[in-house]
């Protein structure tokens, strides 16, 4: 920007501790067009004064030198065309930099009387810090431009592809249609309805959650078929998904003929398949005894109304249900499928309804009728024909009369039991369709499927508790039992949630901003391909697979897949990727704008690139507790730690900075980075940093990466202090004064 107005607030201790005239001078030297200071800048008068100054001086941007950007966000808003840069003099300067006082010593009025280093007062250093902050603010404003939303070329397709025609998929298609959007539902079987269609009855998916009802799926199928916004293709598989949100090209194959259609966003509702029971011969006797069946097979028997033993066709008068067969078991499925307890309870009830003489035994590890489903469990407990006990399965054998004898131990009766029954039902678990198949045949350079689902035992789940629909493929959302193990009621709700995310993604494409988590962000990475060397780091490192290759092998960005994390920006060795409001020049110039002290004065200069979602708020909270952080530290917030380019680190080190600290989110299995890989990639890039340091003959401890959670405001100052001490041990940078 060119005509920059700088407004310095003197309240909240800023005016008490800083010489405002010196700050104004620093802003003017840096080339602002207008500079003013006043108390209570966020008050009505302050804001009016800013508006007036913008108008009178035709300012095109403002720098607010006051509090953290996380507060008074709504107050300092002068319209989209006036970029606002916030300089946190309050949280990052006057509320977090304190002289070391003796115990009981009062904070002196005049900080220039306190010695900081030889010949340098505390006040001098505090002012040097504040001036650096003001200069960085002005420079930042000079180097940015108002973001322009990205608009897709051509028309945005607003039709939603729903993959899978079970309860979840049918519901998703209906929910999309009810919101006014079109849906294309593709089901691989010839019939709609999925597993629920094969049920005799199901648990009611609404209050009071204790009765059995006709499967809801029949009504759903009717509604879907009657809805003119929904097109259904059965017996079809999706073979290719190319393109990007708002402009996917989806190819499906129906009965041998391929068709390619335009699609806006996708709901994956491909569900689950039963765990392969043939792996359960030992110890459960599946395959060994014909009268050992799975819960799926038993459901079919119930639906047909034929309760006959597979071995000899004689009537089934007693059934033992073995819960968790091949589940909660490291050798099979390590997880719990969440619904099998309910399914067995239901099947026991159906058995009893069909034959009041029949007996059911349910042997469970833990009865998991979560939440409101306790109602159903309670309703069944009164039936004397259903015997329920916690038990450890011990073995299965065949009696002389051909019946099976189930042996269990550790029961609630306090003794081992051997129960002869006509039929044994194994409550086998569910395996998500994504466990061993990509399911979404993406024509992306990073390949088909959602990456790294092994973190979620194969489910197409989100790593974020707060954001259950987050996936690593923008515009593609999973719902139902491919998402998480769940019962029908939850699957229907989940379908509605995923449907919303799908149409919401199209809204973001239309408006030209990012989807979650940076939904407010209209900037996007722009590539200067003239200088691109086709190294492909951006393409490979993007956590969301946003980049493909063009026919010449040059990276081809798909901005509607992009989440604006800046990982590509951080990855690019040629520095050709930039955002309107976040670019290489901005960071480098901010570093340069800071004044380097003369060598050998004991004044250190450290730059910290910190994640703006977690580390920055943690620092703010440290400020609210008036914690002390090292005076040397100048903070530059970044989109994500992945959005730190090594060029910045090189500039800092060769520019005389004593150290660079990178503060980002925790990585590893329970990663907290909102962009999946940002902090992890930054850590990996430390190899390049080490090389740079070696070239400059600098100590490796000068550049350090640390992870911190948003709530670690107590630890953060300690961590910063430790870094400071490590630098002091290494001594000042030899590049100072060059």
């Amino acid at each position: 920007m060119e005509k920059i107005g700088v407004f310095i607030c003197t309240s909240c201790n800023i005016g008490d501790r800083l010489d405002i005239a010196d700050l104004e001078a620093a802003a003017n030297e840096q080339g602002c067009a207008y500079c003013a200071s006043m108390s209570f800048l966020c008050g009505k008068e302050g804001v009016e004064a800013i508006k007036k100054a913008i108008q009178e001086n035709e300012l095109d941007s403002v720098v607010i030198c006051a509090c953290s950007s996380r507060v008074n966000y709504d107050v300092f808003d002068f319209g989209k065309e006036i970029p606002v840069v916030r300089v946190s003099l309050r949280e990052e300067v006057v509320w977090t930099r304190w002289p070391k006082l003796e115990e009981g010593q009062e904070m002196p009025e005049d900080e220039s009387q306190i010695e900081f280093a030889e010949g340098v007062s505390f006040k001098d250093e505090l002012m040097a810090l504040a001036k650096d902050y003001v200069r960085m603010g002005v420079v930042k404003a000079q180097k940015i431009a108002p973001p322009e939303p990205y608009k897709l070329e051509g028309e945005i397709c607003k039709r939603i592809l729903v993959m899978g025609g079970g309860v979840t998929g049918l519901t998703a298609a209906l929910e999309v249609a009810k919101a006014g959007y079109e849906a294309l539902l593709v089901e691989k079987e010839n019939e709609l309805g999925g597993f629920v269609a094969k049920m005799k009855k199901q648990l009611e998916p609404n209050h009071p959650y204790k009765n059995l009802v006709e499967p809801v799926v029949n009504k759903l199928i009717e509604d879907v078929q009657a809805n003119d916004k929904i097109q259904v293709v059965t017996g079809a598989t999706v073979e290719k998904i190319a393109g990007a949100p708002g402009a996917f090209k989806v190819t499906y194959n129906a009965g041998g003929s391929e068709e390619t259609v335009d699609i806006g966003a996708i709901v994956v509702a491909t569900g689950w398949k039963p765990y392969d029971a043939s792996k359960l011969e030992e110890p459960y006797g599946y395959g060994k005894y014909p009268d050992v069946v799975t819960n799926i097979q038993f459901e079919e028997m119930l639906a047909k109304g034929e309760l006959k033993r597979p071995s000899d066709g004689s009537p089934v008068k007693s059934v033992a249900f073995i819960q968790c067969a091949g589940q909660r078991d490291e050798n099979h499925l390590p997880y719990c499928s969440g619904v099998c307890c309910l399914a067995s309870l239901k099947q026991a009830k159906l058995l009893r309804e069909m034959d009041s003489e029949a007996k059911a035994y349910i042997f469970y590890k833990d009865m998991r009728t979560m939440g409101i489903y306790e109602n159903f469990y309670l309703a069944l407990q009164d039936d004397p024909g259903v015997f329920l006990t916690k038990a450890e399965f011990k073995g299965l054998s065949q009696a002389d009369d051909g019946r099976l004898v189930v042996e269990v131990g550790e029961t609630l009766l306090g003794e081992d039991m051997a129960v002869p029954v006509d039929l044994v039902v194994l409550a086998t678990g569910m395996v998500p369709t994504t466990a061993d198949d990509p399911v979404i045949p993406l024509e992306y350079r990073q390949g088909p499927g959602f990456p790294e689902l092994e973190l979620f035992s194969g489910y197409a789940d989100s790593n974020y508790i707060c954001f259950p629909y987050e996936t690593r493929r923008t515009g593609i959302y999973a719902a139902g039992c491919v998402h998480q193990p769940m019962a029908t009621a939850q699957a229907m709700e989940d379908a509605a949630g995923a449907a919303l995310k799908a149409i919401q993604c199209l809204k973001a494409v239309e408006l030209g901003h990012a989807v979650h988590p940076r939904t407010w962000d209209f900037a996007y990475p722009e590539f200067n391909f003239k200088r691109c060397t086709q190294c492909k780091r951006c393409t490979e490192e993007c956590p969301f697979g946003a980049l493909d290759d063009d026919p010449e092998g040059t990276p081809m960005p798909n901005p509607t897949r992009c989440r604006r994390c800046g990982t590509c920006f951080g990855a690019c060795p040629e520095r050709v990727i930039n955002f309107k409001d976040y670019n290489i020049d901005m960071g480098s110039s901010m570093l340069k704008a800071c004044e380097m002290p003369e060598p050998e004065y004991g004044q250190y200069r450290v730059v910290a690139f910190i994640c703006e979602n977690d580390a920055l708020p943690a620092l703010d909270m440290a400020a609210y507790h008036r914690k002390n952080i090292p005076m040397s530290l100048r903070i530059i917030p970044v989109r994500c730690l992945g959005a730190v380019n090594v060029a910045w680190i090189r500039d800092a080190m060769s520019g005389g900075w004593d150290g660079v600290l990178m503060l980002g989110c925790k990585f590893g299995e329970n990663y907290q980075c909102h962009f999946i890989k940002g902090s992890e990639l930054a850590n990996r890039r430390m190899e390049n940093v080490a090389e740079t340091l070696q070239q400059l003959a600098l100590e490796p401890e000068r550049v350090v990466i640390k992870t911190v959670s948003i709530d670690e405001y107590e630890e953060l100052p300690k961590l910063l202090q430790e870094f400071q001490e490590a630098l002091e041990a290494a001594g000042e940078s030899p590049f100072k004064g060059w």
């Binding site: 707060c466 995310k501 809204k507 708020p617 709530d711």
Partner: protein, 415 residues
């Protein structure tokens, strides 16, 4: 175009509001407390990742901050609802905060204030000043004054200390009428009143070391009453043994007939907190069934690995006093059939969740079940999500919140 009202500004309500607003619908979000974020603010970590709730709230607050389509009111409650889907008129009362928008959160008022109030955020385990923020991540970042807790001369002192003329003791309750097309109830839950569980002795004299799971959460939180140290209330000593009493009030026809969904996982999480601080510490875990559904099974395994837990299948019948503030937990081990007694330093009751609306007067148009959970109605354009709807964990709550946002939008689309 018609608006959507979201009642309740906890994680579910905030999620419903931002999800709908990001579809370009106007949303009004109201919260009865002075701050958004609700119950999850009080948690140190979420299971199973053991990550802080403020991390996701920070993103959601930013989504609110940056989205002009969301208006939110704190200290606001619904008083009346008239009309029908598409054109509800909702009367909302906004209680006085006594601190106006001039507040910069500088904290000078808090320094000079002498009067104190019970810290409800910490479930009474500490006190705050009469003028306070519930915690440092409080949003909106604006103080609130509890006039009833002021000491003599406080008002003059805090007014004097405030350089921004933000203290307004004459502020009056305000009533506003909102015209909305659909309503999402995200009123959440409250911990079941543990004093009703006579045999578990909570709140009874001599039983200070019987605490609830939410109090445990505050003890473990760095911004809690003990700075994050798990200390037992009677003598602030580090406990060596803790008993967790599962289903304290849940799955009990005399209290809450349903399962509260999160308590097993919460107690396992607490066992990990305890093990972190006291690796030698021993946990006795009294349960009916251990309910860690789906992928949470991994969390059960993690807790078993990291904490020294003895699982005892049995319902606790009684808690008795022992020497030095210790407690004796009496239960029947349902596997051995034997009555067992364990002496411990501290007892944590895994009290269940009760919908916030249970026992409250609610607008006639709203339908709820016998336990106080809201029954949603597409016909009425009334939806519910999170724990106002069913006992749920955070992830499922947010699934229902996202779904409710869509349902509300559909009501407006139908017109």
């Amino acid at each position: 175009m018609s608006k959507i009202l979201v009642v309740g500004g906890g994680i579910s309500g905030v999620t419903a509001a931002v999800e709908a607003a990001e579809m370009e619908y106007d949303v009004v979000l109201i919260e009865k407390e002075p701050f958004l974020g609700g119950r999850v603010n009080q948690l140190r970590y979420y299971f199973p990742k053991l990550c802080p709730p403020t991390c996701g709230l920070e993103i959601n607050y930013r989504r609110i901050k940056e989205n002009p389509r969301i208006d939110f009111y704190t200290m606001a409650t619904v008083k009346d609802i008239q009309g029908g889907p598409g054109n509800y008129k909702v009367t909302v009362e906004i209680a006085p905060r006594y601190v106006n928008e001039n507040c910069t959160c500088c904290g000078e008022c808090e320094k000079v204030c002498q009067g104190e109030r019970e810290d409800t955020f910490n479930f009474g385990l500490s006190k705050t000043k009469a003028i306070y923020l519930s915690h440092e991540h409080a949003f909106p970042a604006r103080y609130v004054l509890d006039k009833s807790a002021l000491a003599d001369g406080d008002l003059e002192r805090i007014k004097e200390a405030c350089k921004y003329n933000a203290i307004d003791p004459d502020m009056q309750p305000q009533t506003i009428t909102l015209e909305v097309g659909a309503i999402i109830w995200a009123t959440g839950w409250k911990p079941y009143d543990a004093t009703k569980l006579d045999n578990l002795k909570y709140g009874q004299p001599g039983f200070e070391n019987v605490i609830t799971n939410m109090q445990m959460e505050r003890l473990a939180a760095p911004n809690g009453p003990t700075g994050g140290k798990i200390l037992r209330p009677s003598d602030q000593q580090v406990p060596q043994t803790i008993a967790f009493v599962q289903c304290a009030g849940s799955r009990d026809e005399n209290h809450l007939p349903y399962c509260s969904y999160i308590c097993c996982l919460a107690s396992l999480k607490h066992s990990i907190y305890f093990a972190e601080q006291n690796p030698e510490g021993k946990v006795y875990f009294f349960y009916i069934d251990i309910r860690t559904p789906g992928r949470y099974e991994k969390f059960l395994n993690r807790a078993k690995e990291e904490a020294n837990i003895e699982f005892i299948k049995g319902k606790v019948a009684d808690i008795q006093q022992a020497d030095n503030g210790d407690l004796i937990v009496v239960a029947e081990d349902t596997l051995s059939g034997k009555k067992i007694q364990k002496q411990v330093n501290m007892v944590v009751l895994a009290t269940g969740m009760q919908p916030s609306l249970a026992g409250e007067e609610i607008p006639q148009v709203l339908e709820m079940d016998e336990n106080g959970f809201v029954i949603p109605s597409e016909a009425k354009g009334m939806y519910a999500c999170g724990c106002a709807r069913l006992p749920l964990d955070v992830m499922s709550s947010n699934e229902t919140a996202t779904a409710a946002a869509l349902k509300a939008i559909q009501t407006l689309v139908r017109g």
